[in-house]
């Protein structure tokens, strides 16, 4: 009984941490100034957010087929997310987008 309680608490902690990172990524998607920095925000949701949420769900699932499938989902996300980010950044560069860099004037102001 205590064992399942511990697992429950651990999965709560993990899911809440994942939610925090997912929402942070979403806010970054809105707040950051240009495409390239927004890709970083999306990267947070893809790695840390998804990782913690899936870890929490795996703790709920226990030893079963569901856990195996969730692990596979995580592996797919980890392998495809950097490829998609890189393709996006490369296409943006070729498409004439330039990264937003802090100008000297703004540097002085802050």
């Amino acid at each position: 009984m205590t064992e399942s309680l511990t697992l429950n608490i651990l999965s709560w902690i993990s899911v809440i941490t994942g939610c925090f990172f997912v929402i942070t990524g979403g806010l970054g998607l809105i707040r950051l100034p240009d495409v390239f920095s927004r890709i970083h925000a999306a990267g947070i949701t893809d790695t840390l957010g998804a990782g913690f949420i899936i870890l929490g769900l795996m703790l709920q699932g226990g030893l079963s087929f569901v856990t195996l499938k969730l692990a596979l989902v995580m592996i797919f996300i980890i392998f495809t997310s950097p490829t998609a980010s890189h393709a996006l950044a490369n296409a943006a560069i070729l498409g004439g987008q330039r990264p937003w860099l802090k100008t000297a004037k703004e540097e002085k102001k802050s």
Binding site: S11, W12, V15, I16, G18, C19, V22, I23, G25, G26, L27, L29, I30, V35, R38, I39, A42, T45, D46, G49, A50, I53, I54, G56, L57, Q60, G61, S64, F65, V66, K69, L70, L72, V73, F76, I77, T80, S81, T83, A84, A87, L88, A91, A92, L94, G95, Q97
Partner: protein, 86 residues
Amino acid sequence: MIYLVLCAALLFTIILGLTRAFLGPSIYDRVLAVNSIGTKTVLIIAALGFLMGRPDFTDIALLYALLNFIGTIAVLKYVRRQQGHN
């Protein structure tokens, strides 16, 4: 309970992503927003499977994770061809 909290957080983030998809000045912002929404959809499908007591939903999540990636690459390829880079 835990799944409801998770679904609420994911739906909130999907709204943020949709805002970016509407606002996004360039096409790349929109593609990025759609890709990011796709990742969250995968997570929401997995969470819904637990919420409704039908863990078979994880199969669909698995499939959607792959489709999301292929969709992003296909759109980017199309955009690049439009601009004349092979």
